[in-house]
Subunit: 462 residues, 4 copies
């Protein structure tokens, strides 16, 4: 053993127990009631919880709005600081280039050597040609078993019509590629946006008015119908509306292979945030839009009951000073997306575990295990099983502190959870056995992350 | 009294009873246990059923496929011969012309003086501009309280995207205009058509394969979602899939104002017809496609229980010799639509009433009363109430005969019910008090039909 | 013609129209745009609505609580005064006597010559023996096509266990007898009553606490399951809970032959009435108990949409001075039931029609037509069809007045609608062609009612 | 380490991985990529699967029918031989004795020193008195956090009416006691039994006819309603009907805390077995009755999707020669219940895992982990977590063999799976670290089992 974590309580997706955990060669090597110290480095976890490092299956380090890019992988130490040791990035296919090449080029130019944590990729299909559809079955060869299509965003090059979603589903079926969708009705949003602007509603709250819950319910129903027609599984990202969740739940109950995730902010923030005075609401503009408290509570029930299986951050590092302000006077120009990479675990712990809404085991499942399975990396990530990567987070449940942005490492000038009172904290994080967070502080070099190829036939296929 | 129908059994949507029926000035003037003869013409209806003349709310006398038009109003005596005294025609908006003007021009040029029975119109919105949407509230002024949009038919000028459906619903709401939709997913059909042709499936049966039930279920769900978003009622025409019917039924049970019709052929024909050898199946190509027996039986339950409120013919007079053969070797070129105008009552009577699936009162409701209400003409049509137009059909339940096309007046060279053994027959029909069918034979001049302006806030709004 | 009602608007279950109505030999004899006066008596109905006389399918003139009987048929002029011309009475089977004999004896001794309006009967099965079950198929021979079982009231002789309900359903199936149930879980109510009393809750509000909505939902589900097992239709009386209504609606949507009624008070009163200070709430003690406003509004939607088909009064004439006071200090001894026979039409008109919740036609359907069909008397009652009994109510929509008990004819010393502002009034009522109400006042002799034998295979069987 | 299992693949409820497993002091002590041998005994598990020992939460060693008892704990080595290391026995409360005393006496007299595997108990409430209900909150003090009530079996002393179920639920709520129900409608079964016998249907197949699926659906609905009324969780044992499963699933989706198990035989046998010629079907008489293939497949979907969380054996050792034959000529006298204790794992592996219906992890969850949680013993049983009891089964997937009764240790003269071709076999079993099965053969002394007290607030409460 090179390192031994002693005295803590191990939490897995199906239970918890006290044991020592040994690390060797970057892997989980041993678990025992009492491991002899030998020459190992000893980490004392007394009174703390030992969990698998988080897998954040929904992050944006490469998104560009109006020519202005989000903060990139250089800021990924924020993930580590928040207990997340693997992120899965959505990479837009470049027009005229294959999905695989788009991802490879992006990785080479913008990720390799710049990632503080391990990473994998979802392709985002944007060039809806037969050539692209026929590329889908080969994606797993490149370690990419998932692609996403945007049903929303009328007029954007990345908008996908029903034919594109359907063809992708058809091609994915035999290959074990999981099709993910951003489910919102693009046409209705477009009509409502124009009507709201014409009516003088230009403020951030217009964002919620232009994307009512039923635009999400509709697209979710439609995507499921397309999946039924194509006889393929489907995964719905960032489910925010109660009705969309129920649509997924009820389809699954009829035997349809459909599942989905929600995000930290849909569980904890709501339309009140968008309604803040002045332009402040712009900080909370993401899509789908934040919902009312009724939806929020329904989503907590959904994650508890397993109707949605994962909670991601949908982290999107647009800044406030310049980028969010592009939409001042016209909410439709506010870049969609909020940071939150560093907040996921602390917020879930505080609002989920400490309130009794979910157990610690369920938190681990939502935060690490199921996301790993969804992305086809569950054989090495998201678990503390012997032989898995020694990605470990030690959470200290004691104490509490207020989230303030100047403790965030995301290089964004605001945080949507500013002022949130977090119970406990991320104490220590290991990435493949090496400490990247110690005593609550990031100590990594920010460059040690590597690509984790995903396997096909992920959780959606089970 | 000018005319008295004596000795028959009157059937209404809510019951039946024996009475004499008096006609005066083209109106139902009296109903009595025994009307004195006076100088009235006496019609003996002993042993027969007296029902309101049928309202066929879904007919096509103006449709054009590939430059080739269906048989027009000149052939509308077929309606009368089948017991239908009012038809409601779908008139496509001409590009660059208003809906109202398109209808008025059509009526002036192609209908006035050529109709054997009374008529009303649905506008079909094809020019999806703000100008058109803003015309919608004024349509009732022209007696047009209903418009339809085609969600199907990708690439056709009359295809409507979600924005068009949504905007129409928004404009309809306050004006009492009922939005109708042809609900099928255009994209999926387009993909499947191309794949089937590429795979060598060119026969009429390919039509069914390219339009599976879920393309209808999906579009029905979507239209309902758009109606919920627009807070407007919705009407779904020619419901054929069990799942689509259930979607409507369940939405109504949740309080959504949505209703719909099915058609004679969906209740009585099925995919076996499309599978007939050679090109014979082309006679049964209509959209949505014919379904399997399971769907058919579910639709009978739906009309019995009131989950669908009307049965129309969707009559579309393309001929076999030339028009249907446009699609030989490529099912996607077979003009969609079948004749059936003359068959609706006889087939419903035989397959519905004589089998015990529905009562005579329910038949009257489906055949005449509810369609009249849907189209806003229930104050004069579809009922035998005092003061209503004396549109009357006397049905003789005795005997049976085989339907053969050379007894049809539709000027089409085939009939989808060829060989069907009909029980009973249409004996006598009055149009506004004047006999147009006598002893089973059409005796009208074929030109006495007039326009019946519809009122807004039809059945969908109740 | 002996009498002609001129100038009014006739309202039927499926529409309305202006016409004169002629009466002859106690029957509806003619309906005409203009009937010649001849030597007929002319009744001017200008500005008024002409409707079929009401059928109240749920009344109690024979119920006895703790040896103390309700007001009997001597008080049935209250029905006439309220526009109801036929009542259907629930007659308890006497122990050791057949259902038929129990009814015949009751009619002979307590009804014949004492009824102000026509009447029919439901048997109430209380002697759950094989002998009784085997009597069921013969009931239609005596004009009794309906029986009821009480699933509620643990310990009472009329309580029916599941075996009794199931056996009755089995026997009813082939015979066309409609099984009706009072659906509440007797055991749970019994437990809760004892716990409430033990906890010192003795007031009338305890009645609601001891009969929460789910005791009704449960029994409704159970009765439906028994009907499915017996493959027989089922009718649920006095549906009061939203969940019970939804259970019926959803079972019907799955093809189960189940339907039901609600009552005037469940549509208009609520738990606030039970919570009145002192013992006042006892006036509103009936079973099932009054519900909250949420349930009330759901029931309005249900009657509008046809999920429940009839509204009855469940009239039960226990007085306040003595009978209701039997339960002072112990709500379980308050006799269940409220008067309301005279109020049904006025209250439905005011709260249903005048508020826009239902149309006049729907009111007629709920008030007269469907109840007649349910009880197998639709061929003579509940309609204004030619040949039907000339039971007619002329309602004057003008003016309004406050309901006060001293204008009620029920001989009960209170009325639950005391103080209700009724819009319009019952102006004139004919029973089989003879006036029993004129200018708002009862003018009958109170003895002209006759038995109306019901036919089997009522509305539940359709 | 005292013992080390090397070279196998560990399967847990949430994944699988290769590791060595160390046992010390009867506990799981270590898990490691490679454990040094030291002086430990080495067990080679190469090519085999290492799983937690099974928890069979539904067995009957104490049931008595007509004075004739099932085989008792003396035969519990059959459990060990089948990979089950803990059983949870249903102990009937003796009339006039408390639940706790009934269990304690039973354990002392009939279990202690006679059990081959560890055991826990469910109380069966039979004496439905207030005294008994008030005992419920104290049950966890005796390590009994679960009780069952029989809604079925009219007339039997252990039959529970709705009041008993409701009162038990009320008392359980605060105490964390899980109420379990055998959900079948006793009245309907009783009626049908009598009718079938009267009609001459005396054969074992009459058992299925007398207990159609809806008697189970009904009672399941009812139990859920009672749980809603009592605001307490509910657990439904041996769910066999598709509709009952859907009822549980849908209630859970509405937020009701209800869950349930199914049994090996409902997943693999069906009504065909009951229809075997002669009296052979009696071997398969258990309650609820075996269902058709449609139900069976729905149950596989249910366990895969998590709608039912556990699979038990419902083992009941009545013999064929004498006990089953009590019902020859009258199926209502056939003792209900089949053996199956030894078959659960092999059958689930063969029909579940080898067919691809469920994963190995899901098998472990259904077979061990969730049952342990349901019974409140998940902190020591049903897992391979460090510190848990070293109850371990090593399954060798290679080879196949035919199940024949003379290899069963249950001392019953037949096995319902006779002739079943099992893939793989139980190779080795440890009970608290001591081997009880080696090389497929039971080697225990049959007396080493001890009582495992359960904790309150089991899985149903989560």
């Amino acid at each position: 053993m090179k390192k031994i974590i002693k005295g803590g309580t191990i939490v897995t997706a199906s239970g918890e127990y006290k044991a020592d955990l040994g690390i060797s060669d970057g892997k989980i090597a041993a678990c025992s009631a009492s491991l002899g110290n030998g020459d190992a480095e000893i980490i004392d976890a007394s009174g703390k919880y030992i969990m698998p490092g988080g897998v954040d299956q929904h992050v944006h380090f490469s998104f560009v709005y109006n020519g202005s890019p989000v903060r990139g992988f250089e800021t990924s130490s924020a993930a580590a600081a928040g207990g997340t040791t693997t992120v899965v990035e959505f990479v837009n296919q470049e027009q005229g280039k294959s999905i695989t090449a788009s991802i490879k080029d992006y990785e080479r130019d913008r990720v390799a050597g710049k990632a503080a944590i391990d990473y994998s990729f979802h392709g985002v299909l944007t060039d809806a040609s037969e050539e692209t559809f026929r590329e889908i079955p080969s994606l797993p060869d490149a370690g990419i078993p998932t692609i996403k299509l945007f049903m929303a965003y009328k007029g954007a090059f990345y908008h996908a019509d029903d034919a594109a979603v359907f063809r992708s589903l058809q091609e994915s079926r035999e290959a074990g590629v999981t099709i993910m969708v951003h489910a919102e009705n693009a046409d209705v949003i477009d009509v409502l946006q124009k009507q709201l602007l014409a009516a003088g509603e230009t403020s951030p709250y217009g964002h919620a008015l232009s994307r009512p819950p039923w635009v999400e319910v509709e697209a979710t129903q439609r995507a499921i119908a397309l999946a039924i027609l194509a006889e393929a599984p489907l995964y719905v990202v960032h489910v925010s509306a109660k009705g969309a969740m129920e649509t997924i739940r009820d389809a699954a109950a009829r035997g349809v292979r459909v599942s989905g995730e929600t995000c930290t902010h849909y569980l904890t923030l709501d339309t009140e945030n968008l309604a803040k005075p002045g332009f402040e609401g712009a900080k909370y503009v993401c899509s789908p839009a934040l919902r009312t408290a009724e939806h929020r509570e329904a989503l907590w029930q959904a994650v508890k009951m397993g109707w949605l299986g994962a909670v991601s951050s949908d982290h999107c590092g647009f800044d406030w000073a310049f980028q969010k302000h592009m939409g001042e006077g016209d909410f439709t120009n506010i870049p969609n997306g909020c940071p939150g990479l560093q907040d996921r675990l602390g917020v879930l712990w505080t609002e989920g575990v400490c309130t009794g809404r979910i157990s610690r085991s369920k938190l681990v499942d939502l935060f690490a295990t199921t996301p790993a399975d969804v992305c086809g990396i569950g054989h090495v990530k998201g678990r503390l099983d012997i032989g898995c990567d020694a990605d470990i987070v030690i959470y200290d449940p004691r104490g509490e502190h207020v989230i303030i942005n100047n403790t965030r490492l995301h290089s964004v000038d605001f945080d949507p959870y500013e002022g949130f009172v977090q119970k406990g904290r991320v104490d220590t994080v290991f990435l493949r056995g090496e400490p990247v967070v110690k005593n609550g502080a990031f100590i990594g070099n920010g460059t040690s992350g590597v690509f984790v190829p995903g396997k096909p036939y992920g959780a959606a296929y089970i």
